[in-house]
Amino acid sequence: MTSNEGGAPRRLRFEIFRYNPEDPGSNPQMQTYELDEAPYMSLFIALNQIRETLDPSLQFDFACRSAICGSCGMMVNGRPALGCRTLTSDLPDVIRLHPLPVFKLIGDLSVDTGTWFREMVEKSEAWIHAEEAFDPEAQEARMDDELAQAIYEGERCIECGCCVASCGVANVNEDFTGPAGLNRIARFMMDPRDKRSDADWFEVVSNADGVFGCLGMMACHDVCPKELPLLEVYAYLRRKTLAAAFAGKEE
């Protein structure tokens, strides 16, 4: 299905969701564009080419175009993916693009992930709750490199929203903390600099909007472009919750 070596390039057919909420005359619909495939063509290149040569009104978001800023999540043939990282050579001749569900639509393929993630950070207070203020004179507190690497593993989330869009629960329960949210919580739980106790976390995590909202659908894990071990994260949260529940009982 890749472009045939040396021969004529493949003709790609893009079916793109169009809707501009700012335009009273606009109705949600699919629109079709055709392009010749080029080597190493990503959806970033293809969409810009469509905008620059075929339809200048097409809205979509890219910033870093190197899979690090998380701007460009979109549904590619029914599966959330980063547009900048998705090469057309991995896709069939017909490429259907939709905006990510769950998030508020801004226009065409552009959605408001920023607001969702800011709310998530506010809700789970995803920052270090230190006991003492920063002391500019002091040497940094030590941390074992193994632990630093483990925290880094969770820290790598780029808040692209692909996992959220892929999760059945997040799609129907807007209060669900969501895969990325649970991952962030786990990252802070693991961090010894954060002084919140297991009991504090217990109340946040142990409920239907927390880790028990997760039905184990596993889509989040499969679509995460940063390959975060999300399933392990939930298992970690579940086990922590269990421990906290029984520890709390004894008090």
């Binding site: 339809d55 009104s57 870093c64 899979a67």
Partner: protein
């Protein structure tokens, strides 16, 4: 007050590391702060920085003996003596504090592992015993142009980790952020900045923000090089443009443009210098490690300008690998081993897999030098206060605070963002606290009308003019082709002519789409003229500077000329004036006298005057160019002569 007029104490334009760190400082002092950003703050380009952040903590064996003074020496030499040495001094002293503060805020810095460690240094695998005493302190990696291992890093996602930590602090403090909002015009009168007009990128509507202090922290503007840049698509330089448009605020050193040696060919996505820091080789098409002969001392780890030039020369000599996209060279990471690549350089490993389908553990990586960093920007004094405009500040890559001079060292710019954020933020807070300020809504509304008129003019223009994207592409070709790594008078003149022509074209360009809302084509069109103006002052600045210094290399004037050009370029250009005005100020008080950088060519034209003569009255001479008085006396934190014991 109507919804198209918002009032705040501090307006921060830009939600990257510099802007947010600055906002935190002002908000912590109790001021009302509003941040504007084109994208949600965590998507700012700071998140793309991989390699590291320079701070002289001296924690590992190869960093033994490091201190801010050694860092200062490296920075000034790296700048090819173009830096303001006092600022470099302030920076190197504050960097360790800023890095430790980030640790406090949650950055998972890679740590020292006490005991035996295996590194690749200058092509050799070496075993080094890290002291158990330092186990768990912040680790360093080697970067170009430095005497010690100094770059602190969180695997290969340093900027990402730092930005998330800082943004979490912004959320904790409850600072308001308006993302998808673009500042398009400064509100100012009589040399006093009063805020900015913004355009909402959801609805396309304009509104005014009046503020007692305004901070420009809009990052770099690599996109004036079209696609030939490692920068994000949002790095289009509107921060510098709105300052330039005032006609009062000068931009500094616009011709000082950094080219990074290792951008992935052909997409120009950055492959971090951390690779070479960790021991990667550069190879030509014959798989020859040419940097060993070219720079025996530093090899692959000479400063970026030097390595980029050797690479470009190599390709000119026909030693590049030819492809339909042009020639490239190879970066070899294979000997570092899969384990190292998938942990300490994981982001690099992913980029190679995802964008070119290569496995760095087995394959060579195609690389080429590409525009990477803008040393120039809004010229500010050591407080971050813009020249000639009270109440306007700038920080981060958007500013010419000027610790980088004509070449920034790898890892110095992430560190700059947080250091400058801390310092400038403090000054902004003080400024806001002791200045009475009366909002003149009429000035704000006039600025807003101006911005609205500009948009309306684009929408009303009809005919068959060129497309805005065609003009942008032509600009990119000209800039990379003629204002690139090797420059000469002839090509620079062509570049100036071509861009002048494109500016005229821009006035004729016509939109293809007139949809309501943000209208992506209009949004870009509104930036295009500004970008061309930045491109023009860059090209013209390069044409006028008849010497080679740092990243600015003139084949027709290959020597650094301290006799005539030990100066900083300033350019002013109001948006209704035909021509930019160039002037030159002294770089600042010089403590470390100009000399050999330790890499690159040793030949140069010496200063004619003595250092004493140069330094005499240097701050008065800067004030003539618009430098406003600083809170502490200029030069007071220079620590003159402290480097002497170390050289």
């Amino acid at each position: 007050m109507s919804s198209d007029l918002i009032s705040t104490d501090v307006l921060v334009i830009g939600g990257g590391l510099a802007g947010e760190r600055c906002a935190i400082e002002a908000a912590a002092a109790g001021h009302k702060v509003l941040i504007l950003s084109l994208v949600p703050p965590r998507r700012s380009h700071s998140c793309a920085a991989q390699g590291g952040m320079q701070a002289a903590l001296g924690n590992c064996v190869k960093a033994d003996g490091d201190n801010p003074t050694v860092h200062f020496l490296d920075t000034v030499r790296g700048s090819d003596w173009g830096a303001d040495q006092e600022v470099a001094r302030i920076f190197t002293e504050e960097a360790p504090v800023a890095v430790r503060e980030l640790a406090h805020l949650g950055v998972p810095w890679t740590r020292v592992r006490g005991g035996k460690n295996s590194y690749v240094i200058k092509g050799e695998r070496v075993e080094i015993e890290e002291s158990i005493e330092n186990d768990g302190l912040i680790m360093h990696r080697d970067f170009g142009g430095t005497a010690k291992w100094r770059a602190c890093y969180a695997a290969a996602a340093t900027g990402h980790a730092a930005l998330y930590a800082i943004d979490s602090e912004v959320v904790r403090l409850g600072i308001t952020v308006r993302d998808r909002t673009e500042a398009v015009e400064l509100i100012h009168e009589g040399g006093r900045c009063q805020g900015a007009v913004a355009r909402c990128l959801r609805t396309g509507k304009h509104f005014a923000v009046v503020a007692k202090a305004t901070v420009i922290a809009t990052g770099g503007y690599g996109r004036i090089y079209g696609q030939y840049t490692t920068n994000a698509t949002i790095n289009e330089g509107m921060g510098a443009v709105i300052a330039l448009n005032t006609g009062a605020v000068p931009l500094g050193n616009m011709e000082a443009v950094q080219f990074h040696p290792t951008a992935l060919a052909p997409s120009n996505i950055l492959v971090t210098e951390g690779c070479r820091g960790d021991g990667a080789y550069l190879l030509d098409k014959d798989l020859n490690r040419f940097m060993v002969d070219a720079e025996p001392e530093k090899q692959e780890l000479a400063s970026r300008d030097v390595v980029s030039r050797h690479m470009k020369q190599r390709m000119r000599d026909g030693k590049g690998v030819d492809t339909p996209y042009g020639p490239h060279l190879w970066l070899d990471l294979r000997h570092l081993g899969e384990q190292h690549l998938t942990t300490k350089l994981r982001e690099v490993w992913e980029i190679c897999r995802d964008f070119v389908g290569l496995d760095p553990a087995r394959d060579l990586i195609p690389v080429q030098p590409t525009q990477h960093y803008s040393m120039g920007g809004v010229r500010v004094n050591k407080d971050g206060q813009a020249y000639n405009m009270s109440g306007l500040f700038a920080a981060g890559e958007a500013a010419c605070w000027d610790m980088h001079g004509f070449n920034r060292l790898g890892g110095n710019s992430l560190a700059e963002t947080v250091v400058a954020g801390r310092i400038v933020g403090r000054r902004v807070a003080e400024f806001v606290a002791d200045k009475d300020f009366e909002i003149q809504t009429s000035v704000a509304f006039a600025a807003m009308k101006k911005a609205e008129r500009r948009a309306a003019e684009w929408l009303n223009r009809t005919g068959s003019g060129p497309s805005v994207y065609a003009i942008r592409n032509a600009m990119g070709e000209t800039m990379m082709g003629k204002v690139g790594i090797f420059r000469n008078g002839e090509e620079l003149e062509e570049a100036v002519a071509e861009i002048t022509h494109l500016l005229a074209e821009c006035d004729k360009a016509v939109l293809r789409s007139r949809v309501p809302g943000m209208n992506p084509e209009l949004t870009f069109a509104l930036r295009l003229k500004g970008m061309l103006r930045l491109a023009l002052v860059t090209a013209k600045g390069a044409l006028l500077r008849t010497e080679s210094r740092g990243a600015h290399y003139r084949s027709d004037y290959p020597l650094r000329n301290d006799a005539e050009w030990l100066s900083r370029t300033l350019v002013r250009w109001a948006d209704d004036e035909g021509e930019p005005t160039f002037s030159y100020e002294p770089v600042g008080e010089i403590d470390l006298p100009p000399g050999h950088r330790g890499y690159g060519s040793d030949e140069r034209i010496e200063m004619r005057e003595s250092l004493e003569q140069y330094n005499d009255g240097v701050y008065e001479r800067q004030a003539v160019h618009g430098r406003l008085a600083t809170v502490e006396a200029a030069g007071s934190r220079l620590r003159r002569g402290e480097w002497k014991g170390l050289v």
